[in-house]
Symmetry: D2
Subunit: 238 residues, 4 copies
């Protein structure tokens, strides 16, 4: 355990040093998919923060570091353990289906937490300017960029004091960019590519802002990594 | 209402006639995405059954027709209505965020039902033979095709007597083919492309099998449209 | 397994014979609490149907028998097994808290299913006349008995084609009779005594009515055991 | 709004002054049920903190005051508004059942939050000694008082970093004292009287402890108002 923690901290430190390097390279690396895996097999390795933890405006180093270390890498650890349990349970004829399904729900929860946290960190650490390509894509679906932002913020406000995620996603079945409100890690629209992800669990802001969720949403908006958003938008039709 | 019902029935009848036509063309058409839409705008039109309702083995015409007409087109109608409400509520400053979020949850539920039902019908109506490309892809992730099938059936059994979906999906973030168990329309793993979808709500089998969910799962397996599965597999990396 | 099934069937048969006996005695017995138990210990024994399975109007013997045998006693069996697993897991230091919590969620789901099914069967098997005491209590909270019925039916309609429970409950904290809509076995208002419980899972009606949930709700209303409702109402303040 | 806030603060201040008064009287008053209400009618008034906000050990005045003012009274305000909407929607024939059900879900969520928060505050503010009557009742169900505490803490740990409630409840149908794990305000076992309630939403500890949920659970245990627990235990069989 101690060794693992050490390893994670070294990993994070490395990422922070890397933060000084070329931005594009770093971002691509941060979001690059891990090596292909087998179902409930293999170990998922935590992805380091793709920005300097000290660099965010209005989100403290202490908070983002705790968020990454406790909530995100905790979810990674849990996911790996759930997978190991699934691997054993699937071969055990004594596991009744409804208990197996209980484990599958944990898989869904941990998978959701890991994937959404990675997407969240990867769309943080940028400047506040959305490029024209993003603005026009949002406007095409929401009427205007501002109309998109207003709904996204409203979803955040609706989740404040509770738990969940505000997600702008591209629904590949319905071929539409929509904002979604999810109350936990297990809820998501099917067949949807997340474009912008905002964590609304209280660990994303309580340490800095207490119950003032709206101030966190303001801070989130000033740190959006729009290049990551633009890249996801481009890739969405694939 | 009567007119709409008539329209829907005509649509279904047309699809059934079409069922005699070239299979590949039809299937591609059935799964082809609708025209790009705007967020909570536009009307989603029901997609006709992509096979002759009389053609399934072990799933009666009466059941599949009721499933399509009542459950699926009911969800389409509900989705269109929820979108209209969202469109009004987003512009109404008197809608507090947590009530707006309540509407967003309905959007998530109806979107999930529409998308999953369309994927479900589109992977039914085929023969029982999985092509080699599918078998080897499943084996690569699950150890063997049979191991995949055993887990997928176990998930179905675990949901029997309740509600939900068994889904084989390709998680684009984790780059892995996995089976998932979802207890309602709002649960899904994020950033995941559904490859094979099995409805485990009781409307998918009670009318034919009563509580004998396992017999329905058998019937489902004899009707899988493996060409659709193969096509989704090929497109998953895009 | 065979033996157990036999036992259950004998139990059910006995209950049906008993159905000819004095109504009041039987009903009290049916709802009488089991012997006090220990946490996740002991075996919960299925409660026989408190009425003749042939006696319901508009709900077939086949359906109610399947509902009792497959869905309800299946939940009892599952609850007993989950409890045994909990009993082992709580003493196993190797069970991480979040996996333990997964088991607790199964406990919640099975407990909900067992308790709600027992309350449901116990408020079925009666005549259609609500006594004056019930009518006035409902009117005091809802404006009129008819207003109560209208909302209760609306909740049923809203759950049709999905899963869940419509429940009239007495909230002991808020001191109010209210109708609640629950989408699965794990949802309930806290500190609330159920007064009337209507199963809206599709196994409660699909076999008889297909997707026509409204017809089932009509049938449910003609079979309400109002004496049970009156008794629960009287006991609610305790 | 300003006026209302002022009123609430005065109410809280009054409660704090009252905290100096006789303990028993205060506690009974704090948990005393409000006047009987009508379904989704009437205004629920916030219950003041039943202890001096400065008096808790290891839970700061700032945190508990924010918890009460933002999370709890926010839920009260939301509940009153949802009830007003329900009152209008139930009479509006244009509200389709599934949209009405969406509102009912909000009612369930806000009711859960209000009731559980009131029970939580009412079982805080005490000394760390559980009386003999409580110890023996817990031991009767869990084997020993320590076994009860170990499971209750394990549930808390399993919810750490997420959201939910750890609840010791008396299930009136199963006649058993059990611990339950609930992941949001809408989940509860049916027909159950809460005996001890621990908030595991992050707003209950992040401000003081960051991600260190276990330290909060320690603090919670040193502040349990065991007299309230004993009183609920006594009343449970009623």
């Amino acid at each position: 355990m101690t060794e693992r923690r050490t390893f994670l901290k070294v990993g994070a430190a490395a990422a922070m040093t890397a933060a000084a390097a070329a931005t594009t390279t770093r971002l691509v690396a941060a979001e690059a998919a891990p090596a292909a895996q087998t179902a409930y097999g293999g170990e998922h390795a935590p992805v380091p923060l793709p920005f300097d933890a000290k660099s965010l405006k209005g989100i403290s180093e202490k908070l983002i570091q705790s968020h990454w270390e406790n909530n995100y890498t905790g979810a990674v650890k849990a996911l790996n353990l759930v997978r190991a349990r699934l691997s054993a349970a699937v071969q055990d004829a004594n596991t009744p289906p409804y208990l197996y399904t209980g484990l599958k729900r944990e898989q869904l929860a941990r998978t959701g937490s890991v994937v959404l946290h990675e997407l969240y960190f990867a769309n943080l650490g940028g400047s506040a300017q959305a490029p024209a390509s993003v603005r026009s894509a949002f406007a095409a679906s929401f009427g205007s960029f501002d109309a998109w932002e207003a709904e996204f913020r409203k979803i955040g406000a609706g989740l404040g004091g509770g738990s969940g995620w505000a997600v702008l996603g591209y629904n590949r079945s319905l071929r539409v960019l929509e904002n979604y409100s999810m109350t936990d890690h297990t809820t998501s629209p099917p067949n949807t590519t997340p474009i912008l992800v905002m964590d609304m669990y209280e660990h994303a802001y309580q340490m800095d802002y207490g119950a003032a969720a709206a101030k966190y949403v303001d801070a989130f908006f000033t740190n959006i990594q729009w290049e990551a958003v633009a890249r996801r938008l481009e890739a969405r039709q694939a």
